[in-house]
């Protein structure tokens, strides 16, 4: 028989729990306040800025923020940054708690996921403050989701082959002409590196989890990874060919053993095979070129175009935004945040500070501004970017909503193929099925 006190406790407890559920069930709903943005005021305002990257980027960004605070003394910017993988977990939870930074660095893999769920602000509605006219349409279009601009591209880069010329010279191998080489030339060169170094170094680091590389590979055969509606359009045979190529490299010795490749996949830039001299060639977005050269000052690197055969489709290259600035939909100071984004993508002082750290600037006038201040690698990256701009075809659709984990899914199937757990054909089917299911399941 419950005493009155026990009954009272039970009642209070149930009330407490119900209250907690009711309060926490509120969730976060994006601000539907329409197009009217309050103009920027002169009152002291604090906004927050978040990005991912290494130390050089952090220093450059802090300096850029200092410039901004000089120009707008009433605005204080709180900065925070982290490494790439931890950044996304944090951004997701911050957004869920309504606490996302006012301005965040954004990647194409996640743009659609965040924009389709209403967590990013429409930058087009802020065009009285935020001027995106300096960015060419071909690059700016990659910031559109459902025809609305949700993110401003910072820089753009093509996917190229980074080659360690010091390593090649060490073994007396001729530096290839990257404008005319074929896939056979590439395979032979990669094998030559392994043979002449007696296995101390290998020719190539396989593609692994790079969906950018997979997209370029698909485009070389006239296909694309996905379309604007979120359908995977690349045929399984092509993905299987992509896996097979890597498997051939590992088996012939052109690439290192499967476990070394896997080890390298999880390594930081300074530990990666291309930097430590274990591999001579590496397919990567040109935006990473700067970082690679900085991490290995004793080696010389060049960046060149992909090998192409006579039947390769022209225009397979395209300029993919390296990263964007996006603006939170729940920001309390949208005008000030828009001012910051406008400053970061248009100001010449900022461009000089960033250099090619975030990729070659998307704005051609800024490219001219930084040209005199570039390091030799920056000059190379800029030249490569201009060359690719001439050769580029139409940019493909951006990563669909639900495909944010494409790199992780690709990495997993890649590992399974290289360790002999599945055939390239089965892995290709599995990869496409899983990625499509992920896209379909996403809201």
């Amino acid at each position: 028989m419950k005493t009155r006190m026990q009954r009272r406790m039970l009642a209070l407890g149930t009330l407490g729990v119900t209250a907690i559920i009711a309060l926490s069930g509120c969730g976060v709903s994006p601000d539907a306040s329409g197009d009217v943005t309050p103009p920027a005021t002169d009152e002291p305002v604090t906004i927050s800025l978040g990005w991912w990257g290494s130390d050089p980027r952090a220093q450059a960004t802090e300096a850029a923020v200092a410039l901004f605070e000089e120009k707008y003394p009433n605005i204080t910017v709180d900065t925070s940054y982290s490494d790439f993988s931890g950044y996304w977990d944090r951004l997701a939870t911050q957004t869920a708690g309504g606490d996302a930074p006012d301005v965040s660095q954004m990647d194409m893999a996640y743009l659609s996921s965040y924009a389709s769920r209403g967590t990013l602000a429409d930058l087009g509605a802020l065009d009285s403050i935020l001027d995106t006219s300096g960015i060419p349409d071909s690059v700016l279009d990659s910031g559109l989701v459902d025809d609305t601009l949700y993110a401003a591209p910072i820089g753009a880069a093509a996917n190229g082959v980074v080659i360690n010329t010091t390593l090649l010279a060490q073994y007396g191998i001729e530096i290839p002409d990257t404008d005319t080489w074929t896939w056979d030339d590439f395979d032979d060169l990669a094998l030559e590196v392994t043979e002449k170094s007696g296995g101390a170094s290998h020719g190539v680091t396989p593609f692994q989890n790079d969906s950018f590389g997979l997209q370029v590979f698909a485009r070389q055969h006239g296909e694309e990874l996905w379309d604007a509606e979120g359908q995977i359009t690349v045929p399984p045979e092509l993905v299987a060919e992509h896996f097979q190529k890597e498997l051939d490299w590992v088996e012939s010795g052109a690439a290192a053993s499967a476990s070394q490749v896997s080890d390298n996949g999880g390594a930081t830039i300074s530990e990666s095979d291309i930097v430590t001299g274990k591999t001579a060639m590496f397919f990567t977005a040109a935006g990473a070129f700067n970082g690679i050269q900085l991490a290995a000052p004793d080696n010389d690197y060049i960046i060149g175009n992909w090998p192409a055969d006579s039947d390769t489709e022209p225009g397979f290259q395209y300029l993919k935004p390296t990263m964007y600035w996006s603006h939170s939909a729940t920001s309390e100071h949208p005008s000030e945040a828009a001012l910051l984004v406008d400053f970061l993508i248009n100001d010449e002082g900022v461009a000089e500070l960033f250099g090619t750290e975030r990729g070659v600037p998307a704005n051609p006038s800024l490219q001219e501004v930084i040209e005199p201040t570039l390091t030799p690698q920056g000059v190379q990256a800029l030249a490569f970017s201009r060359l690719m701009n001439e050769e580029a075809g139409e940019a493909p659709a951006i990563t669909p909503n639900g495909a944010s984990s494409v790199a992780q899914i690709l990495a997993r199937y890649n590992d399974e193929v290289l360790f002999g757990q599945t055939t390239p054909e089965d892995a290709a089917e599995g990869f496409i099925d899983e990625l499509q299911a992920s896209i379909d399941a996403a809201g």
């Binding site: 977990d89 996921s113 476990s259 080890d263 999880g266 399941a441």
Partner: protein, 314 residues
């Protein structure tokens, strides 16, 4: 007998509680409530409340960024067809069923060795206990990855002996073994408890047994093990519960991915990926409750089996 109990006894005898006693009882209860209040608020707010919200979310399609929509049993249906879930269950079960007994065996062995009345026992105990303090930390996991990596300490050492070791943490066949080794390395905590338990076994038993001519091995199996069995049981239950929830080591050593080809995809790591990386927090909540059910089942099984092998002195 507690004060309240005595009061009740008095009440029973007279059949009627006096007004003074009733006021005293109410006052006692109010004081108790005030003292308990902070803890109850914490329990409801930080533990029970979120658990119930999580139970609700496990029947929704919550993606962290938008409001959750009720979807009924969709998440359970997804679980049944989820191959990665099956892989993660395989990995987690392998880890638990291998590393927990292994760790306890090592802990018991070292404890028995140390129980010989060594002079520097406190020193040895502290040294062996140290890894278990650090073992679940991020720093040690990073260190482990470096030691067992392709260019790590272990391979440098093997290289001195002329053996070319593989990249232990990057090979699907050996990655889980490095994690099991890490768990076994943190045997200090159960070891200290075993040491205390060994100390409690009366020496007379061993003396009587040796005068009867029992070998050391026989003494161990017939005296030490049965008398130690409640402690073994305790360590086993806690070890299993903890091992199922392992996250940090797998996250750091595999770089958050679940290892080469999902070979280190622990259950809580998979849950984390689904919830925070893949925007499927509703599904992740359902997975969390599945883990609770699994751990509950194992614990209940443990308790049931304990009837047959745990020997309580009373």
């Amino acid at each position: 007998m507690s004060a309240l109990g005595e009061l009740r006894t008095i009440t029973k005898r007279t059949g009627r509680e006096s007004a003074v006693d009733k006021r005293a009882r109410t006052r006692d209860s109010k004081v108790a409530a005030v003292f308990l209040a902070p803890w109850i608020v914490g329990l409801l707010g930080i533990t029970v409340g979120p658990m119930l919200v999580s139970l609700y979310l496990s029947f929704t399609d919550y993606n962290l960024l938008q409001n959750p929509n009720f979807t009924g049993l969709d998440n359970i249906q997804r679980m049944l067809g989820d191959e990665r879930l099956a892989a993660s269950l395989r990995v987690t079960f392998t880890y638990v069923l291998v590393s927990v007994p292994l760790q306890l065996i090592v802990a018991l062995a070292i404890a028995v060795l140390l129980d010989r009345g060594l002079r520097a026992l406190p020193l040895y105990r502290s040294i062996f206990y140290l890894p278990s303090l650090l073992g679940s930390s991020v720093a040690v996991a990073v260190l482990w990855r470096l030691v067992f990596g392709g260019e790590g300490l272990l391979n440098s050492f093997l290289g001195l002996l002329g053996i070319q070791g593989p990249a232990w943490v990057s090979n699907p066949d050996t990655a889980l073994s490095t994690l099991i080794l890490l768990h076994v390395w943190t045997f200090g905590s159960p070891m200290v408890i075993f040491l205390a338990g060994l100390r409690q076994i009366p020496r007379e038993f061993y003396e009587a047994a040796s005068t009867d001519g029992a070998s050391r091995r026989r003494q161990f199996t017939s005296i030490t093990l049965p008398l130690l069995s409640p402690i073994i049981f305790f360590n086993l239950v806690l070890g299993i519960i903890g091992a199922f929830q392992s996250f940090t080591q797998a996250f750091i050593i595999s770089g958050g991915s679940g290892g080469p080809a999902d070979s280190t995809l622990f259950f809580s790591l998979y849950l984390y990926q689904e919830g925070f990386a893949n925007f499927r927090m509703g599904y992740a909540s359902a997975l969390a409750w599945l883990l609770l059910l699994i751990i509950g089942a194992f614990t209940a099984l443990n308790f049931w089996i304990s009837k047959f092998w745990v020997f309580y002195n009373d």
